[in-house]
Symmetry: D3
Subunit: 238 residues, 6 copies
């Protein structure tokens, strides 16, 4: 029995509230149970130096936890003067995941920045960020299309992410904080609508796992991502 | 006529939503019109080095704008590696304002950190932060009292803040972003319930002002803070 | 009776020594009693990025305390790797105060940097910095006019600053360190010759104050700034 | 045909030179073809703050590229004043991988730091670092055992890592730089002697992959890690 | 003929004004011609971590140029967030030079920090700093002796420094800025009263020099340091 | 008798291994006994801002110790976020020493960066770096000449460096770590083939020295540098 009473392959409630803030081209408050992340998509009519003049766009992400998103207050990275290794690792993953479904030529020479700020954390903040970022990106691109700035849709598919893990020997889907901190193995999957894999990050913590374990986690992830794809579709109508 | 259609002494709608996040001892989403700030109060059973062993507590604040709280995206201070002068100035003001109404001996040797994160900015983020921080602080202190950790209430009064300014020669109350960026003079008042002044920061921008102008702004601020005190009372029942 | 034996509305001796260093376009050692600040004005034939090509100039300031300007040695900000919030707050105030009396179009596309380095501190370093900075700016602008680089004088009026406070219930003018550290309320006024207000920063420390208290401090500040304007005139002949 | 002429499941030459430097408790120069990493293991009789007094040890890693390890010179992180996100991600992975095979209670309250400095880079620097770090750790622990500081061997198994990828549709083992920069998908596997998985990081770049692709890469990784385990055994005699 | 009209072995006017600021235990404004440095000596009743509990003291130095000490304004190190290599090199030299004449056991477990802030630069700021720092140190130690905190004088001798160089083939003493920027070779000597050498730093710039050149510079330095010793004696009466 | 059993004027074994890494235009592993430094020379077709458009080149250096090059592990400068004063002082010395023998006009508008990374430290790392850097520079320039990018050889002579010191009253050549940490005086000489001096840095530590002592150290340095010149010649054939 899981601490939350959920079945091993049961997700938490997903909620995607679009238009949560008004200035961003795309904005969403995404919840996976008690994990809540505010994601904004900002369109900038410039690209990083290495892309200038190539006629291609870029998608990148930044991630942060509000200091009291967690059980005890963490110190503010801006006050410490640097981002932690964990923060950088996560924001690199988010950016890479979104870029996996965007045709940069169709996007044109502009950049979309996805800011993922965790309002409340209860496990799975990076996967919620990716899943929500796709919605914010979708909204921002729709706006560019509506304004006539982009002709062909550069987004090739939905992308979603979910965490799975092995808790007390049982593979389970969508870990909350209690499960996350006691899991034997912990894996994050980024999947693309239609079945392809964009990224797997599977880490043994305490206990290791074998090929069969990896496959069982992947199958749970497929179940979970189907749910996320549906929620993304409902939120955006695409 | 003000851009928003408000009368010179008319405030924007104030909304104070308590318990917006679950981990913090006090948590509030405060809105002044389209300006929205998430404030959390975190109780820490330790004090800064200069107070250790003195039997007194401390109240301090940190302030940040989410990158896309504004019309165009601002760069993230954690990524730049330092907090701007503006950020530091504001968070020092918030901490000082709250300390003006707290009896540190009654608080006991513990610290309360008020994190003010601006979700959406439309003028007056620092005054909304102060006004909301009082509510978050009140909730956290109530929790300490309920748990028996504090006997006598260390909060001596409500404290609230509001901005006023002179726009096209007319003193107006509670400036939004459009007014703020074109005001001739801009003042922030931090007032204590009962009529005392905790802080005045009045700056001429373009045009200067005289004693009469300062007094007219102060009188507007009194009107505004009365509204804030009422909203604080309604939100906390105290 | 004040610790220094001064009457409530009595200033410390003001001394303004021009030409204290030889390289700067304007240079002054300003003393308010034992508070001594070296201010230099440096003319740079460039402007910050946000002003490029607009035909307007800029005036900005930097502030620092020498490590042993104070009773006990403070650590050097260059060694710590960052400027404190207090330093940034003060240098922003100095720059804003001077800009209040400069016509940026008449200055032309150049920048004047006012460096205020506190040699010895005994209260009122920020107000001494502003008062001295006006003299250094005046000298630098006179040099630009003499060299034919500027035709119309961009300085519209004198600007001066002074601190006032409420000590043991009595409003007093030009606080020294002893008064400053025990004052119930502490205010800095930046006034423009002729009676206008450029900036008010009034903070309750311990005790709060009311409208009447604020006005009494403002009136003391007017007395003090008249003295500063006279000293500025004597030092520059303008 | 691979650019190097190797068969899809053919590794580059592995060379492990122990005792490359004299001060470290364990020291190794590990080569996978032209990729060469100097790894030292330093024993410190202290643990990080979060472990103090718990009777447990810690294993951690730091990673760096010498500026000219690469085709064109990269700027030195010490000169830039911060470690890149890539560096932090890699050193976190190395530390986690080694901790997967160490019993921290048996290690006792001491820390072993694995410094991985890339002398020359030709793809696979993180996996070479992990594979070499195990040897340096083994040597350092053997020294602790020989000195009588540790009684029971805290190292539970060998751990090795290898990269695999899909190049032009073909899964290949142990990518060099040319393959790495053009691979459709790129995966790093950290495997434990005996068949368990410690970590999988598989990223689609350009093309995505499916479950079958992931499994084929995992099988190649098993072949490669067997070769690494053998080289580790030959280098340490254990 | 030198630009200043001085003879090759002629020093600039030395002026040492003691008690320039009031808070520091030792304070001096030292001038070598137009080079002016404010040096303060601060006594701290603590030592750096590596000396704790050893019953020995420490002498250290910090050095800084005010931004407009020079012909054109240099950026402020506190604003840039780090000290330049030049600054660090100079402050290490100053500290080492002073430590050469102090008996750390007699000083007792306390630290004296010498802050050297260049008010105006015209060549030779590091040697003026060392020469002035000895006076500030002497004053601070005299105060410690007068207060009974130290019994035996820990200062064993005077120490002074001077720059020499080869300009247009001629060895000259005490270079000013014009000579310094065009010298073929530039040397700084730190000499101890009585004839011993504490430090030589001789650098070829453009042209190199030979043993005979080095000796001629050393002899000039002896002439110069005799003058400095006399000025130090006159300033301190010791 | 020296700890190593060497005669006072006896050098350690010098070994210069060229082509130690493959990407750099010049690469060398230089050993002076147990001190081993990897030096790479990187040619960059750009110059620092102050030289742009002047038709001249630049030679600069960076220096670093690997964390476990020493007896006990030192913390990594990239992790601490800044280079120590010692590091900066050394890399400035290396750059200056090499520039003393390079004709910048003949080098043309390009920069050569010499990266000196200490693999193992046993005294004399800065002098080994300079001596090895000349070889790396020579190899890189030879490559530029062979490729036809440079016509006239910009390297005017060999440059070498060695440390000398006074140990127990005896001047000795090429100090190892044990001697270095107990020497009364410590000097680094940078000499140019043919007899000229590029740089002398002689520091008293504990005991001071006199003119005769300085000359005896210089004569030892001449003996040592002759040996280095020979090894440089053997390694490069020039």
């Amino acid at each position: 029995m899981r601490p939350s009473g959920r079945a091993p392959d049961e997700m938490r409630v997903i909620d995607i509230q679009t238009g949560f803030t008004k200035h961003a081209e795309g904005s969403v408050l995404v919840s996976f149970g008690d994990t809540r992340v505010l994601v904004t998509a900002s369109v900038e009519e410039k690209v990083p130096p290495f892309l200038r003049g190539k006629g291609e766009g870029w998608v990148t992400a930044e991630y942060s936890m509000l200091p009291r998103a967690t059980h005890t207050r963490g110190s503010r990275e801006a006050a410490k003067g640097k981002q932690s290794g964990r923060t950088q690792e996560i924001q690199r993953l988010i950016g890479r995941s979104l870029r996996a479904v965007v045709d940069m030529k169709k996007l044109g020479e502009r950049q979309i920045v996805l800011d993922c700020d965790v309002i409340q954390a209860d496990g799975g903040t990076r996967t919620a960020s990716i899943s929500g970022a796709w919605v914010a990106l979708r909204l921002a691109v729709d706006k560019l299309i509506a304004e006539g700035k982009i002709k062909d849709d550069p987004i090739q598919a939905r992308v979603a992410a979910i965490s799975c893990g092995i808790c007390d020997g049982t593979p389970v889907l969508d870990l909350d904080y209690i499960e996350d901190s006691s899991a034997d193995a912990d894996a994050n999957f980024v999947l693309i609508e239609g079945g392809q894999i964009a990224e797997v990050q599977a880490t043994a913590e305490g206990a290791t796992y074998d090929e069969e374990g990896l496959l069982r986690l992947l199958r749970l992830a497929r179940i979970g991502c189907e749910r996320v794809f549906a929620a993304q579709g409902a939120a955006t109508g695409r």
